[in-house]
Symmetry: C2
Subunit: 220 residues, 2 copies
């Protein structure tokens, strides 16, 4: 959940679905599909077609009846709406397994996110290179983030140091933080915070599994 904004016009759910549409459109475009129906987009995103049409109508008139959406054009439009039409520099703090996974994740560059700095406090890791990025000392966060104009910070650190690292990222001028730790982190109102949690994805899926098994049980 971001904290900077209160978007007056566009419901939060719509914004959550835009990246889903964008991912599918880029996938289709890369596979050579010039146009896509909302039915096909629905299959890929598992959002129902009427919802897709309603969501996109928030931003203008897209698509032609009977033809569908121009994949490349709609992808570019959504990129502009999101602001993903230009490069965004990212700093990852924590060169453990999660931080390294983020640095190596090929899905970020697709959307213009470039991991430009990786920080750790372990002297054995500082100075080593991971996926082409030299690990920097956390002591240099302020200097490096400010110097390079990095706007995104990813917290891939243990919960007990997450707040301290977040404070330093904010002081360094970071505009948005993705928190992968289990800590409840507080940031100034001017910084967007998104807490993410693998357990949440599992719980969400578990709900539907439990419900479907409950229904199956009731039918017996």
């Amino acid at each position: 959940m971001p904290s900077v904004q209160q978007d007056q016009v566009t419901p939060h759910g719509v914004i959550e679905r835009l990246p889903l549409y964008l991912n599918s459109l880029i996938h289709l475009r890369n596979e050579g599909c010039g146009t896509v129906s909302s039915a096909r987009l629905s299959e890929l995103t598992e959002v129902n077609p009427a919802q897709i049409r309603r969501d996109l109508a928030h931003f203008g008139h897209f698509g032609l009846r009977g033809v569908g959406y121009d994949t490349g054009k709609l992808a570019r439009e959504i990129q502009q709406i999101i602001g993903a039409d230009r490069e965004q520099l990212v700093a990852v703090v924590g060169a453990g397994h999660l931080g390294c996974a983020m640095v190596q994740y090929d899905g970020l560059r697709t959307h213009g996110f470039v991991v430009d700095a990786l920080f750790d406090n372990d002297s054995d890791k500082i100075g080593t290179t991971i996926a082409g990025i030299v690990v920097s000392d956390v002591a240099d966060i302020e200097e490096i983030v400010a110097q390079r104009g990095i706007r995104f910070g990813v917290l891939a650190v243990p919960a007990d140091v997450a707040q301290a690292v977040a404070d330093r990222l904010c002081a360094a001028g970071i505009r948005a933080i993705i928190n992968y730790s289990t800590a409840f982190v507080v940031v100034p109102e001017t910084v967007a915070l998104h807490n993410t949690d693998p357990a949440r994805e599992l719980l969400h899926t578990l709900y539907y599994l439990t419900k479907s098994e409950g229904m199956a049980g009731a039918k017996r």
Copy 2:
């Protein structure tokens, strides 16, 4: 987005927020807070208080006016609704950085998810122990998953093998798959699929950042 279900009664957004509430309630309970107001719960989850009350009303009457919610009781109720009141076994496929991060992630066990198997196809990794879990050969997925009754599978593999691994997990009897790869994976209707993507979190946050900067620019 899960695929098994079409929940007729409870909106998808409500289900997405339940784990947020649950995380906050467990956090508060562990910190010794016996009750919590919807205002405080709102601060922790960044969902507005009226929405919290509406969401919980889908499942029954919780909380007392002027007193708030009993943290332990509401946590247990939500756990029952989700099905997180019992242990769930998880198989992680891919012992790279992401897979190892999942195995070590302390937020899973909080919710009863126990990583019980970790698979890889790298003979250097097979047989080694990561966070107490012995890495098994992907060739043994069917046998191990079926034998142990594992219901959750996590795809932490490269995109080009994701579908093949998903097929094997489904054949082995897995009921739910969390896909961390960038691949578009197809599963039978009887299996819940949740695609997750770090880029989506960043894009979502970027939208609000772009918008707030646009508004700040317009005010100048």
